[in-house]
Amino acid sequence: MNVMHRRQFMRQLGVSAASLPFLSCLPSLTGAPEARRRQRVVIMFSPNGTLPGEFWPDQEGEDFQFKSILEPLEPFKKSTLLLKGVYNRIVGDGDQHMRGMSCLLTASKLLPGNIMGGGGQPAGWAGSISIDQELKRFLQSRPETRTRFGSMEFGVAVPNRSDPWTRMSYLGANQPVAPVDDPYQMFAKMYGQVKDRDSLLSILDDVKEDLRKVSGKLSAWDKQMLEQHVSLVRKMEQELSAPLDQAIEHVMPPPDSGIELINDNTPKISRVQIDLLVNALANDMTRVATLQYMRSVGQAQFRWLGIEEGHHSLSHDPDDNKESFAKLQKINQWFAGEFAYMAQRLSQLPEPGGQGSMLDNTLLIWTNELGKGNSHTHENIPMVLVGGGAGLKMGRSLRFDKAPHNRLWLSLAQVMGHSELTTFGQPDLCVDGPLPLG
């Protein structure tokens, strides 16, 4: 018998999904513009800190110059807001990288655990919900902002391991959300499973019944696990039934089937993932998304930039190591380029049923787990905001004095309409309220 190659499998899924009649290019069925404009937010992560001197502009206010790393954002300068002085002040278990990563979007302490950091400061998962998932929860709670997925977690070259250096999104304490770094899997999630929908739907009832049947004989604790499983099956049933009602406005062709998920294909994978992400936003499958490059302490080798050394090793080199410095500059510039590509794609698409471009209704945030790679500082965490989704005055470079990043996420919640949220993450770091972003 022949083994089923995954690529082939995905290809089959993809082709058949695209050939289904309901996926043809339909005009928007929603008709009149919505009462309140759609607002979307995308958080992009790249690891191992930046080079502050090549990142932050020397000037404050509207009249500022991009430094080398942010040069790719030049076309979007008027839509850019730079926030210097945001400080991840979460202390406790976990090393700087771990906390940098897993407290980045949660802004609260890590739970105790057995995951070893450098020299042994073990910690577990994050202790609370991350801001992207909080926004999802909020948006999904209201019929007018509810979408098929609520949030989507994209990854690029994220190693297949599960630890606090690899996860930034959390549904809640101890509930990391794994980013999907396989475009074929993402494509299948968005469009693919329709083919096997009927087969699946015909057995899901049986699966639920089977789970219920066996759980009758189990202890209360074990039963709980199976109940959770049943609810997952139920959720899947709902999702499988949902997409047929939805009009797809921008059909995405299946990704080129030849891309293998290996380090050297990262640039290709990155672009496919961004295209899928933009497509998901255009089709209103979600209004919240994350895009995670690699992982904290990631050792990606940027061979496509002529760099052989692992990213994390390079990030440890001292500033006066000119060679490493130049390489890190290139690496961070590459990330900026991918971020700019995402902005560009969104700026080229008109807002479905609304005003302006999609970028005018989307807020893109690019961040990092460290302020600087070789010092492991949590001060001046890179925060680059692009797009009009927040309704903020863009085209500025702002400075804050060691402002806890909790406050930034509070501001984000507010501009997204989630104004009941008065604290986020560790409450004592929120006493000064949302960051004034004007």
Binding site: M1, N2, R6, G119, W165, D182, S219, L226, H229
Partner: protein, 821 residues
């Protein structure tokens, strides 16, 4: 280093057990247990240490050692001895009033808390740890699916024989004889004869041999210049490739000719470059996901037709490896039958208990299970008639498909279906589905998503002991489902006594799946993921590159395999083995002369080698990119070798090399950084152990000097038993650990976690000690330990276990074996 440097600042007081919080989730049930605890508690309350504890300790630690919020929050549980506890108390307690609880008082408190709540036995009594319901882990799922489909292609798991290489067959045409040339010449003038001659088939020529590796460079010649013409011929290489690790394999064919590569099947080529494009040598590469320890059929085809020259090389890049020619050791001339490897990416398992286990669910996991089930169902659909042993239109096809569906479900459930289940799972689907093949597809989808398959213990109430034992053995030893032989033994009722099960386990030991599982253990125990990514300063260590790292990895596994698969399989040899495996490249860097082209066993001249402890692969992982890191090394030696469970420190101090006087040695820097009293608890253990390895630099090369100063690796170490042990270097540490019960017990615990994915205490408070004793009396045989661990789990709660318990003395009967639901 994959993580940043830092050291603990807070005092190490007591050690936490990895399974503490798990056990805390379970509530005590059953009147009998409650009474036991009551009686025990009354007796302990009268203990002389109890009064002192209540007076001097309970304020911060809680009456039951449970911890007090904002004071000392961590529960007092751990694995120190009574004597070890007493010393610690006398030295460091109560905080701020040290010296007020010493001598007999300290001894009394230690004895009291040890029995009341501190020791693992006390913990097992207070909070009986139970097995948590677990789903298949990623590796278990992948292996189970491969073996499940494999059940319908008998022979797919036949272990490869000893011979290595690929069977090579060249086919082409014979060089014409003088008569034939003469005949041809004569025919040229005669069109009729010429046509006749053209119709006459050319004389074939064939060459067969076994190639150790695939590397042919023929130039313009044929493979058999005296017999075969060079203009046109085909080459084929038949056999299998052994995949040492799970992961993506990149295969490369280098050739200027037409080439094809099939891996794990002969329908669709992985590489298809059959059309040659000029005379340049091309590199054709493609990746495929393979599971560790298994063999996969390979077929390489090559066509030369009027190309100027012919050559072919077969390369690969395996996980953790570098691009290299596929070595002879991984090529087998026999062709195994194809297997199904699930390509769907499954989210990594939760490791927050310190080992991978299937005790958490997520939406991503459920989704990947669905995608994987669809993937397998599609694979089954494509090959259904073949798997079911029938063909389209055959009169008995419906019955064959039903039989296939039933056998599929039974293999996945690891037991026969009841009549009721057969009606529900099989018959109903065949009645409802539009066609029999759709019915099979639905059965496959349902089975792979069913609780019975995904949670192997979920239907144990319905399982006869034999099937339960078979299921557990296969998971413990192979991370998979039982093979045909094991299932047969179960259905014949031959897994009923301990001896029968032992015999079966011993048979399973020699299977490549066991080797794969053990290999996985070393990956986890030695945290090789870290070593796989170690990178070094290119100026200081120009030789330390990807290739060297891959060589080091191979060197380490040669050593591990050699020890573990030797007759004695002696754990102590892992620590004290005085040799290391080196090839020429490694020899050059590590200062040893290697003559042959492969790896050689070398006893380094410095005479300081101590097995794993000084293996350069580990030493380079446990170091910074320029300098050593005694702290990383010390933590590793404490936790993984000497068996000291370090408590979680809460505040970090970064080690910043630049902040120290550059004339200092690393030992001096680390000593100064950790000199404060609050560091001493942890670093009193970590530093001395780490310092013993200071003779080995950041890539594990032996040195006598650092910073123009003589290296000092001599330390005094205070063991848990209270003895001051003098260590001159790593070999002394190795000998100490080899003879230390604590080290043995911790090794058994690590091994148990990895194999069973449950805490040993779930099998009775004495399980760990019993296994450790058995380990010692077997001469520390790792293989034997593996069998004993598998037996512990396999027999738990079965009749055979009841027999076993009855035969033993009453003292060793576990008092808190959890009742099975």
């Amino acid at each position: 280093m994959t993580d940043c440097p830092s050291v603990a600042q807070r005092t190490l007081l007591f050690q936490t057990c990895g399974y503490w919080w798990v056990s805390a989730l379970f509530l005590l049930t059953g009147l009998a247990l409650a009474q036991q605890v009551d009686q025990g508690a009354q007796a302990l309350a009268l203990h002389p240490g109890a009064a002192i504890y209540r007076k001097m300790c309970a304020d911060c630690h809680g009456l039951q050692g449970e911890g007090v919020r904002d004071k000392h929050e961590d529960p007092l549980v751990g694995s120190r001895s009574v004597a070890g506890l007493a010393r610690l108390i006398a030295k460091t307690m109560p905080e701020g009033k040290e010296g007020t609880c010493v001598g007999a008082d300290a001894d009394a408190v230690a004895a009291y808390i040890y029995d009341a709540f501190y020791s693992p036995v006390a913990q097992a009594r207070i909070r009986p740890v139970q097995e948590s319901l677990s789903r298949l882990t990623v590796a278990q799922y992948q292996n189970s699916v491969a073996d499940l489909i494999g059940r319908f292609t008998p022979g797919f798991d036949t272990p490869p024989k000893e011979d290595r290489g690929l069977r090579t067959v060249f086919t082409g045409f014979a060089i014409p004889t003088p008569e034939e040339i003469e005949e041809k010449k004569a025919a040229e003038a005669d069109p009729i004869k010429r046509k006749e001659l053209q119709k006459k088939p050319r004389r074939p020529e064939k060459l067969e041999r076994v190639d150790p590796v695939v590397a042919v460079h023929l130039g313009a010649e044929s493979p058999a210049p005296a017999k075969m013409i060079a203009e046109e011929f085909q080459g084929r290489w038949f056999g299998s490739v052994i995949a040492p690790d799970t992961g993506m394999y990149e295969f490369v064919l280098k050739s200027e000719n037409g080439v094809r590569l099939f891996v794990n099947g002969t329908k669709d080529p992985l590489i298809d470059a059959w059309v040659s494009k000029g005379s340049e040598v091309r590199e054709e590469r493609k990746s495929i996901f393979l599971l560790s320890g298994r063999s996969y059929r390979v077929l390489i085809e090559m066509l030369k037709y009027k190309d100027k020259s012919a050559s072919l090389e077969f390369w690969w890049k395996k996980p953790h490896g570098v691009l290299e020619m596929v070595p002879q050791s991984n090529l087998v001339p026999q062709e195994v039958r194809p297997s199904v490897v699930v390509g769907t990416v499954i989210p990594a398992d939760d490791r927050s208990d310190g080992y991978e286990r299937g005790t958490s669910l997520s939406k991503e996991w459920d989704q990947s299970m669905t995608t994987a089930a669809l993937e397998v169902a599609s694979a089954v659909e494509l090959d259904l008639d073949n798997l079911a042993g029938t063909k389209a239109g055959a009169p008995e096809r419906l019955e064959k498909l039903k039989a296939f569906a039933k056998r599929f479900a039974e293999t996945a459930f690891r037991r026969p279906l009841s009549a009721e289940e057969e009606g529900w799972v099989i018959e109903r689907n065949f009645q409802k589905a539009p066609t029999p093949s759709v019915a099979v597809k639905r059965v496959v989808l349902f089975t792979l998503k069913s609780a019975e398959f995904l949670y192997p213990e979920v239907s144990r109430a319905e399982m006869r002991d034999d099937f339960l034992v078979a299921s557990r053995l296969a998971l413990a030893l192979w991370d998979s489902i039982p093979d045909a032989a094991l299932s047969k033994a179960a259905s014949e009722g031959k897994l009923h006594t301990k001896e029968q099960v032992q015999k079966e386990a011993r048979r399973m030991l020699s299977d490549p799946r066991t080797k794969a599982k053990l290999r996985g253990f070393f990956q986890v125990w030695l945290d090789l993921e870290r070593a796989d990514h170690a990178s070094k300063d290119a100026k200081e260590f120009p030789d330390f590159d990807e290739t060297l790292r891959a060589d080091l990895r191979q060197s380490l596994f040669l050593f591990l395999d050699e020890v573990v698969w030797s007759e004695a399989s002696d754990f102590r040899r892992l620590l004290t083995g005085e040799h290391v495996w080196l090839n020429k490249r490694l020899g050059k860097v590590y200062g040893e002369k290697i003559e042959s082209d492969g790896f050689e066993k070398v006893v380094p001249v410095h005479g300081q080698s101590a097995g794993l402890l000084t293996h350069p692969y580990l030493l380079s992982a446990l170091a910074y990119n320029r300098t050593t890191s005694p702290i990383h090394r010390g933590v590793f030696l404490s936790r993984s070798i000497v068996g000291v469970q370090l408590k979680n420190p809460s505040v970090a101090v970064a080690f910043e090399d630049a902040k120290f006087d550059p004339h200092l040695t690393m030992r001096e820097k680390v000593s100064s950084l950790t000199k404060s009293v609050s560091c001493a608890g942890c670093h009193g253990v970590i530093n001395p152990l780490g310092f013993t390895l200071e003779h080995f630099d950041a890539i594990g090369r032996f040195r006598t000097q650092e910073n123009q100063k003589l290296v000092d690796s001599v330390v005094d170490f205070e063991s848990d038993e209270g003895a001051r042990v003098h260590f001159e270097g790593p070999l002394d540490v190795a000998r100490h650990a080899a003879g230390s019960k604590q080290a043995h017990r911790e090794f058994v615990r690590h091994f148990f976690h990895y194999c069973i994915k449950q805490p040993p205490a779930a099998f009775g408070g004495g399980a760990l000690d019993d296994l450790t004793e058995g380990f010692a009396s077997s001469g520390f045989s790792v293989r034997n330990l593996l069998v004993e661990i598998a037996l512990e789990k396999a027999l738990s709660g079965t009749e055979a276990a009841v027999q076993k318990v009855a035969l033993q003395s009453p003292q060793s009967v576990p008092t808190s074996t959890p009742p099975h639901p």
